[in-house]
């Protein structure tokens, strides 16, 4: 999954009829230090996320694994609202594995 921030909402009445009833939010991708990345996407909300909240987005066919998005043309769904994030391994990824 990816980390993102909800920056807006999309309303659309003329759309694929399968999408009626789904709430579309605009999510900007974030780095793990919460700094914004260039990319943003439209995701269906499945946990009641609001604008300004940091969220976790699942993409691809996994996005259809909810009864809200099952068999619908959806490839991104907000599946969690972030409480806290902690990165404890910051130094260069040194080799941790005994390699023969």
């Amino acid at each position: 999954m990816i980390l993102g921030k909800v920056i807006g909402t999309v309303w659309s009445t003329r759309k694929d009829e399968n999408l009626v009833g789904a709430k579309f939010l605009i999510v900007r991708e974030l780095n793990l230090d919460y700094s914004p990345k260039k990319n943003s996407l439209i995701a269906v909300d499945s946990v009641g996320a609001g604008v300004g909240e940091n969220v976790i987005v699942a993409q691809g066919s996994s996005a259809r694994q909810t009864n809200l998005t099952k068999n619908k043309p959806v490839d991104a769904v907000i599946m969690a609202i972030v409480d806290k994030l902690d990165i404890s391994v910051k130094e260069k990824v040194e080799e941790l594995v005994e390699t023969k």
Partner: protein, 90 residues
Amino acid sequence: MTLGKVIGTIWATRKFETTKGYKLLLVQPLNGRLEKTGDPIIAVDTAGAGVGEVIYFVTASEAVIPMDVDMAPVDASIVGIVDSINSELN
């Protein structure tokens, strides 16, 4: 599957029903030489991995298979912890 290193943890009390009970870990994908490749991702932990460990994870809708739920909006899950690697790459 892809190699990765667990670099941290992310907590979310408000999350999709069927993912409750699973830890969400931050994973830095690694290549065959255990070098960083690509941006870190968030993965469900189904293997009991700890921070700092080298693991491998599965992506796309196959990521839901190791979770004992029928459906979950999850596109990455840790399925194993690496003991050692023997490859001509390193």
